[in-house]
């Protein structure tokens, strides 16, 4: 049993090692924003789209994805005085699009994050409801990683418990973590 658990712990760790680094490093970016001063690079391009095709923001977005290589989730679709505006987002890249019906031109502002910004983009991608199947695939990775965290924890606790000389200090640390964490979770919830 011990051997099985040890191998399971190792294999889970190796399956998720880079995924955990993605989440760990991007969490550091959230917690220590000043350590990662990189700003997204912004470029702008213009494309012509026939107003008879771009009848609304969503139709324009689909044309830009199909014919101009943009990819991601459509959001913030709004009417403007000139036509409409929308955003298309995928991890690490955001396209801000303004369309003029009169000129039939879409101005595409592209904000591209650096490496850590890209990791952050992956961190905030979740769910299985996206327009872009790649986002849904990341949602599956996240689900597997989340389940993997529990399994890593469970196998890790088994392995610790079988390491007899670490039982006392380990019990104290596990207890401290549980009591501290649960106490402040409950107190925060109780605040209402």
């Amino acid at each position: 049993m011990y051997r099985l658990m040890r191998n399971a712990h190792l294999i889970l760790g190796l399956v998720f090692v880079l995924f955990l680094m993605v989440y760990g490093v991007s969490s550091l970016r959230v917690a220590r924003r000043g350590w990662f001063p990189g700003q997204p690079a912004r470029t702008e391009s213009r494309v012509k789209v026939d107003p008879s095709v771009a009848t609304n923001g969503r139709a324009l977005g689909l044309v830009l994805m199909r014919e101009h290589g943009l990819r991601g989730d459509l959001f913030q679709v709004q009417d403007t005085e000139e036509g409409f505006s929308l955003n298309i987002w995928h991890p690490g890249t955001n396209y801000e699009i303004r369309y003029s019906r009169q000129s039939g031109e879409a101005v595409i502002g592209t904000r591209r994050q650096d490496f850590v910004g890209m990791l952050m983009g992956l961190h905030v991608t979740y769910g299985l409801w996206h327009d872009d199947w790649l986002h849904n695939l990341w949602g599956v990775f996240l689900l597997l990683l989340s389940a993997g965290l529990f399994l890593l924890g469970a196998t890790g606790i088994y392995l610790w418990f079988k390491t007899y000389e670490e039982r006392v200090i380990g019990s104290v640390l596990l207890g401290v973590g549980l009591v501290y964490g649960l106490t402040f979770l409950i107190l925060t919830r109780q605040l209402g």
Partner: protein
């Protein structure tokens, strides 16, 4: 050396176990949530409290006075108030427990308090993102943020020491090498395609 790293690996994992459970729940919760574009925000509970806005103060100071008077959890002075469609002064706070909206009804000398309480799963999901970056407005949340941030460091430490322990104790395991190569390949391929 390896023995000490193994000890520290165990200790860090045990200390951070609670945070890892919260992160795991947040990940599963995020996955099973329906499409937010079709989701209607739940109706909030509404109550009213008496409040008379001093006539000689600008919006910001009136907003601060409301916050000081009501003393609601997770609210604090300094938040820029908005004017809603009916031109009422309003402030919205996103707290770990859900959304709180304060609306000043000046003609009635009341403040409307709208409370949308998040589920326990949403609460845990909110807390998984709490860090010390923003000075947290409530001390239990600050204490949780401290633990959460410790656990961020912990997961990085566990990842690196885990790889070290594998290489130091069982470097010859072929299936382990193949597993690492396959999972890394999948992630790198994904990164390249999405990038």
């Amino acid at each position: 050396m390896t023995e000490w790293i193994k000890k520290l690996h165990i200790y860090a994992g045990l200390l951070s176990f609670t945070a890892f459970c919260v992160w795991g729940i947040a990940g599963i919760h995020g996955t099973i949530l329906p499409d937010p574009r079709g989701r209607q925000p739940p109706a909030g509970a509404v109550r009213y409290v008496d409040f008379t806005a001093p006539g000689n103060l600008p919006d910001q100071q009136v907003a601060d006075r409301i916050v000081e008077t009501l003393k609601l959890p997770f609210t604090r002075t300094g938040k820029k108030p908005q004017r809603d469609e009916q031109h009422h002064l309003s402030m919205t706070y996103y707290t770990p427990n859900g959304r709180r909206r304060l609306v000043l009804l000046e003609e009635e000398n009341k403040v409307r308090i709208e409370v949308i309480q998040t589920s326990i799963w949403g609460f845990l999901s909110n807390l998984h993102a709490a860090t010390l970056l923003h000075s947290q407005p409530a001390w239990p949340l600050k204490m949780w943020s401290l633990y959460n941030e410790f656990s961020i460091w912990s997961v990085l430490f566990l990842t690196l020491t885990g790889v070290y322990l594998w290489l130091a104790t069982r470097p010859g395991l072929l299936w382990a090498r193949y597993t690492l190569a396959a999972s890394s390949g999948v992630l790198i391929l994904y990164y390249v395609v999405v990038r």
